[in-house]
């Protein structure tokens, strides 16, 4: 083992990559393979009244269509199990998949899609989290009671706390407030969403996937197809960039349904335009801080309210709120800390995991707040951070007891890299104790 430590090793798959031999999902072209494209919702929010596929089905080269009626098993999927596999009653974001047209090539699929007569009643959508939270706001979906995510038993606020923030504010010499927002972001992996599905010689459903997490998704697929996992060969291992975007199923479920219906190999892939518009995103976070400080720089209280835009379905967003909450108060010892997190649904494509999940969406605003505090009390921002940084034995709002704290050492390293000379009394501090 030790012969590998500290040495750069060549990639086990490197030769295949530089020779262009690595097989990405879209590189599989099988004999008799059909292609699928989706009829997508033309409105941000709507009620489906009826769909006439007659002309589409009669298009030369079109083999057929796949709708929600063709799903043998679970009609909903996703990390929270609330997203329709194919919309049949309503649509909750622009571009939501309603049906697949399956044909000999993608041009023919598109020709068929143009001939579908979709009768959909457009409804007033809601895009802004604070609009969505108003009592008279339109519901993002008809199956919701509220646009706030229900964590169970009607609980819509995830609370994490230690101590008593009101007592902490009473002990403070002054209070600094701040409001910070991080924006929406697309993963933009070089490889757009794609899947290839077919039955093998043992009648197992084979799916070539670029999934980042096969075992998160295999169970969902088995439920949708109503097949035992042993009847599905879920083949992964080559991912053309994921960055969290391929934690959510985008294509495997639909390619699989088409292969089941038509008993032929099927490829379903997004164009780059579809990928940018309709795949999952990093969702917006807005955080409001109220922080109590002593004149000497010690933080006494931190009350954070945070809101996360989940888009139309849960996905990983309710979990993202919890993860963000754990890190939104930074690596700082603040005896009285409280985080109130809410996950808000809006009529947009679902948000999901992206690089670091939602951790930096909490860390970034806390560091902005720390700089604002330093400015307000006229203290060097390094000093403020050194005074309050976690030491071993400190406890954060998640009730995690800190062991092996390293914020001080990391900050000293950062200062060194940037040629910043820190004063002696800061250099003398240690994470081993206060």
């Amino acid at each position: 083992m030790t012969e590998y430590v500290g040495k750069a090793m060549p990639r086990y798959d490197g030769i295949g990559q530089v020779k262009g031999q690595t097989k990405f999902v879209d590189d599989f072209v099988l004999p008799g393979m059909l292609y699928a494209k989706a009829l997508r919702s033309p409105v941000h929010r709507g009620l489906i009244r009826g769909i006439d596929f007659t002309a589409a089905k009669n298009t030369p080269g079109v083999v057929g269509v796949v709708t929600a009626d063709d799903i043998p098993g679970a009609k909903r999927f996703g990390a929270c199990g609330d997203q329709p596999v194919l919309a049949d009653e309503f649509t909750a974001y622009l571009g939501e998949e309603i049906a697949l047209v399956v044909a000999v090539d993608e041009d023919t699929c598109m020709e068929g899609i143009e001939k579908i007569k979709l009768d959909i009643e457009e409804q007033q959508p809601v895009f802004d989290m604070f609009e969505a939270m108003k009592p008279d706001a339109p519901l993002v979906r008809p199956d919701l009671k509220s646009n706030l995510w229900d964590y169970g038993s009607g609980m819509t606020t995830r609370v994490m706390y230690i101590g008593d923030v009101e007592q902490g504010f009473a002990e403070a010499d002054l209070i600094v407030e701040g409001r910070y927002q991080t924006g929406e972001q697309d993963h933009s992996a070089m490889e757009p969403m794609v899947s290839v599905a077919y039955f093998d010689e043992a009648e197992r459903l084979v799916i070539h996937t670029h999934s980042q997490c096969l075992y998160f998704q295999l169970g969902q697929l088995a439920a949708i197809f109503n097949l035992p996992m042993s009847r599905i060969r879920y083949v992964g291992g080559v991912v053309g960039g994921g960055f969290g975007g391929k934690n959510h199923i985008h294509a495997d479920h639909l390619a699989g349904l088409a292969a089941i219906k038509f008993k032929r190999p099927v490829k379903y892939r997004y164009s780059r335009r579809e990928d940018l518009l309709y795949s999952t995103k990093r969702g917006v976070f807005i955080l409001e801080y109220k922080t109590g400080i002593k004149k000497d720089g010690r933080l006494t209280a931190n009350h954070i309210k945070l809101w996360h835009d989940s888009g139309a379905y849960g996905g990983f967003s309710p979990y993202g709120v919890e993860k963000c909450s754990m890190f939104a108060s930074g690596p700082y010892h603040i005896p009285n800390t409280r985080i109130d997190g809410q996950c808000v649904l809006t009529n947009k494509a679902g948000s999901s995991s992206m690089r670091g999940f939602t951790i930096m969406n909490g860390q970034f605003p806390m560091e902005m707040q720390m700089s604002k505090i330093a400015d307000t009390i006229g203290m060097d921002p390094w000093e403020l951070r050194f005074i309050n940084a976690w030491r071993d034995g400190d406890i954060g709002a998640s009730r995690y007891v800190v062991r092996g704290a390293g914020a001080l050492e990391a900050m000293r390293g950062a200062a060194e890299v940037h040629g910043i000379e820190l004063p002696e009394h800061l250099l003398a501090m240690s994470s081993r104790g206060r």
Binding site: I15, V18, G20, G240, G241
Partner: protein
């Protein structure tokens, strides 16, 4: 309206039936089984479909297949000769000039065109020439390094590091 397209692919003559609207990328990937060039954007923006047409880099997704009649097309599959990796392939492999590898086929072809025209490019010239090839994983530093070591002759077929 189908037509027979004849051209030289990686040194060998090929004939294939195509339609007037098909792109070179469609024909390579879907009809000839040459899947080195990737479909990243299908819109000329990302560069991962780059191939050399008579030695010049082109976006195969924007190149109408029939326009390559009688001409020479080189893809990443044609880079190595007699089983030996091209110096750029060795350098990309050994310097870790990729993570997911989806951009690599296009990167290699653009890098080859660069060194064919300018065997000793500066770092700035490399950055400018390669700016049409995107790598979302962010391996740009290693890609520049790999091109630099090839330009310095480190992987030259005669002598040097094998």
């Amino acid at each position: 309206m189908k037509q027979i397209l004849s051209f030289i692919l990686n040194g060998s003559p090929v004939d294939v039936i195509v339609t007037p609207t098909e792109t070179l990328l469609d024909v390579l990937r879907e009809k000839l089984g040459v899947t080195g060039p990737k479909r990243g954007c299908d819109d000329g923006d990302c560069g991962t479909c780059t191939v050399l047409l008579d030695g010049e880099p082109v976006r195969s997704c924007l190149t109408i297949a029939l326009t390559v009649a009688g001409r020479e097309v080189l893809t990443v599959e044609g880079l190595s000769t007699d089983g030996d990796l091209h110096p750029l392939q060795k350098a990309f492999h050994e310097h870790g000039a990729f993570q997911c590898g989806f951009c690599t086929p296009g990167m290699l072809m653009s890098a080859k065109a660069l060194l064919d025209h300018n065997p000793t490019p500066s770092r700035t010239e490399i950055r400018e020439y390669m700016s049409g090839n995107l790598c979302r994983c962010g391996s740009y530093e290693e890609i520049i390094e790999a091109i630099q070591v090839v330009a310095a002759g480190e992987y030259a077929p005669s002598g040097g590091k094998e």
